[in-house]
Symmetry: C2
Subunit: 491 residues, 2 copies
């Protein structure tokens, strides 16, 4: 395949993609309509239905599809809930071609119209070039962009062997996935050369990026309980140790007004900041004002680009998410809740160890609680622990992705990390020991996990092109590496 | 009417009540089945339907009934919601008889099966002599006991003129009632001699009580907002001032682990504890262990009966109820909520002034917030302010009630206060300047505002008898006072 024929093929593919925009958007609309929320137990059947749609889509592509049953898991209340299957797909087995494995998820975060959505979260709605809907950018849009890129490409000529790992429990901790990867490591993954994950967004609204690291996520539940039932604040206010007062004090001990975590020892294992790493931050194009505008926040904790990026990527953070069991509705209820569960999480960074973090949190909270002399019961647990991830930006995989981006978007990508967690990146890298790249196509203002989540039509369609172009680049790169190594053998 | 004929009449009435137990319980079952929750806007139509049932019931009794339209009120979100009418009823106009006005409410606190109810909260269910259901004791049971006592009595001989004030907004601050009382003070209330309220419970499970005071209720909303939308804790955790972290710190500044309120100046106007008042507490029969058992709590903040009663009646308390806008469901959501509203209330006591309390709370919270240097927006409001109430235990009204209790239950009542708020007691006393009594028939373990609210069959039926007996006693007392005053005039 000469350079010019490759370029003609690429032109042909790009034209095909432009011509099929409305089909691609129709696909996304159909997927967004499925309330595949993996967090709320009641919606589990919708996640399972979503997996069937994915399997059908891949089968229609010509792929062999294996829906791997992962059994069930137990909720904190003891209820057994079935896990959705993980879809393993395979298309093409030409030993001349590189094998690229794509990972994506089709479950979503909870979303309700009344949370503040301007449109129905499960009806994909285009407004001013943006496609609004839960899962549009996290992660249904990118998954479909990849599948459509494969389809487009395939209609012309297959230069890459494809594998697919599509799951439905990412937003609930990817339960069962790690075990499956371990089991399939010697089988499904044995001939995989490269692993691509597209489950995050760019750092800016306009400039593409490639991601080489992510923070972890250690989620904690702090439960305080006084007795069997909620009490009336008139009948018991002033004479009991109220569980919610205890919990508020515990939560207030976690982080100071500057965002500094107050748990003793928590910063001890954070990787030292090298001069090389600091320089990497300096060269990144990052519009602080734009990021602030995207957030809706008036003022950040730090004033410079470097400080902001360091605190999103290099340092851990702690966020309090809410309280279960207390009064949460509009209006007034003069209740003393009997059992309350505070929820917070720590985004850990290299080289914080999860079990050490858990121990530090438990010891700290138990210490604060014991100083209160409360007769209530305290229970601290870590229902979810996801590790941070870091890749080598000099890997050939990153080069191919960089070239594809340059071709489609006309500029080099930033090399960035992600402040949020993609535990699968670390998981894939640790288990398979293959090269892993995080290859986002969504923009910074897409609002993953938030109200009014969207992907722009531009990013969705150009993202499809970038993936297609990436197939050509990785194919060329692979062929070149292959030829070089053959020559070396001959020599 | 001689003492012996009064006693015969009483026996006849008691027999009638015993013979109609199942009818009375059927009535209560019908009322409990109406989800007349005045707190949740969606259920307002059920409150209004409940008021129609009350009007019908009083009309069937032969009373003239006036359903007074109070217009509407505005919710914090701007929505206009109709207020339920207040029912004014009147039965008997004999100038020889005293006129007793009864106040009660038929709205209820929120209740859902999944909050931890063993039975459906809106299906009255008898288990081991207890009638479980939302509103069974607060306040549908006592209202029906009074109405049934009137009916019983009336079937025989009317010795008292009755008036009724029944409302449907008590659990949401009795909106509109105060204005109505002021308007009707010269009309409906002009010939009222005594006002009876039965909207609280005894201090023990077994020993009857009469109540001469109640704490107030100043409810506060503390709102902290950062911007337009919820944010992802990975993308923004560590670089913004999180509103929930600010709110947790504000709530944590309110009360210390010993239950002492930390708001400067808040105890300044609390009435000094006199030796006389202290003695009153000493003579009350109060089983600390039983009260603890009712609460389900392992340990109280204080160890003696006197300290406990002082902190329920004489001193203010502060309880935190919950947070609106944060994640409150089971499971995990790694969200940074953009707008959170903390809810707490202060049970004030004589002679704390509501506007002073409000100012102290606002100044304190603004001070704590400003020291955090947060760019977020703080808003403190007091959506509900109910004043405390105190009556004279030497009033003749208390004597009649005491005699009725002695007759039906065979022992003298305790003279107690209520740690919770009955703003209507203070309101009726301040506006009408008539004698007001709080005359409970429910027991300490009834669980008002809590899961598994109940009234025992015994208390419901014997309470009906106590009310009937009270009619005879107040009639005798009134006749005696009248004769005495006539004699005084003749002299």
């Amino acid at each position: 395949m000469s350079s010019s024929s490759s370029s003609e093929l690429e032109m042909e593919i790009f034209q095909y993609i432009d011509g099929h925009q409305s089909d691609f958007i129709k696909d996304l609309k159909e997927w967004v309509a499925v309330q595949s929320d993996s967090v709320q137990p009641d919606l589990r059947k919708e996640v399972i239905r979503m997996m069937v749609l994915v399997a059908d889509r891949l089968a229609a592509l010509g792929a062999t599809v294996n829906s791997v049953n992962l059994g069930s898991h137990q909720l904190p209340n003891g209820q057994d809930l079935p896990l959705p299957p993980v879809i393993l797909g395979e298309l093409g087995r030409d030993p001349q071609n590189p094998t690229v494995c794509f990972y994506g998820h089709v479950d979503v975060q909870p979303a309700k119209k009344e949370d503040g959505w301007k449109t129905d979260p499960y009806t994909l709605t285009e407004i001013n070039g943006n496609l609004y809907g839960r899962g549009a950018t996290d992660n249904k849009g990118p998954v479909l962009a990849w599948i459509n890129a494969v389809e487009t490409f395939r209609a012309l000529k297959l230069v890459v062997n494809f594998k697919f790992v599509i799951e439905g429990m990412e937003e609930a901790g990817s339960l069962g996935l790690e075990k499956l990867l371990e089991e399939e490591n010697q089988c499904f993954f044995s001939d995989v050369d490269y692993i691509v994950i597209s489950d995050n967004v760019w750092l800016s609204n306009k400039k593409p990026a490639l991601t080489y690291g992510s923070r972890g996520n250690a989620c904690f539940f702090v439960e305080v309980e006084c007795g069997g039932k909620d009490l009336h604040s008139g009948t018991f206010g002033g004479i009991i140790h109220e569980p919610l007062t205890d919990l508020i004090a515990l939560l207030d001990s976690l982080v100071d007004p500057t965002g500094h975590i107050q748990i003793p020892g928590i910063y001890d294992s954070v990787a030292a900041l090298t001069e090389e790493e600091r320089k990497l931050y300096e060269s990144i194009e990052f519009d602080l004002e734009e990021h602030k505008k995207n957030s809706g926040v008036k003022k950040f904790l730090y004033g410079t680009k470097e400080e902001i990026l360091l605190h999103l990527w290099h340092y851990p953070s702690l966020s309090i998410h809410g309280i279960e069991g207390a009064f949460h509705e509009p209006g007034i209820k003069t209740v003393i809740p009997s059992k309350v569960i505070g929820k917070f999480s720590i985004r850990q960074v290299p080289h914080m160890d999860l079990s050490v973090v858990k121990q530090q949190v438990v010891e700290h909270l138990e210490g604060v609680f014991s100083r209160r002399n409360s007769p209530n019961k305290l229970k601290v647990s870590m229902p979810l622990g996801a590790k941070p991830w870091l890749a080598d930006v000099n890997d050939p995989l990153y080069k191919a992705a960089r070239r594809a981006i340059k071709k489609v978007f006309g500029e080099d990508p930033d090399f960035i990390r992600d402040g949020s967690t993609v535990p699968v990146a670390r998981m894939f890298q640790t288990i398979t020991r293959k090269s892993v790249i995080m290859f986002p196509i969504g923009a910074a203002d897409d609002g993953e996990h938030s109200q009014n989540e969207k992907i722009s039509r531009h990013n969705y369609i150009e993202g499809t092109k970038v993936f297609a172009s990436f197939f050509l680049e990785i194919s060329k790169l692979h062929r070149h590496l292959h030829e070089t190594s053959n020559m070396e053998i001959k020599n």
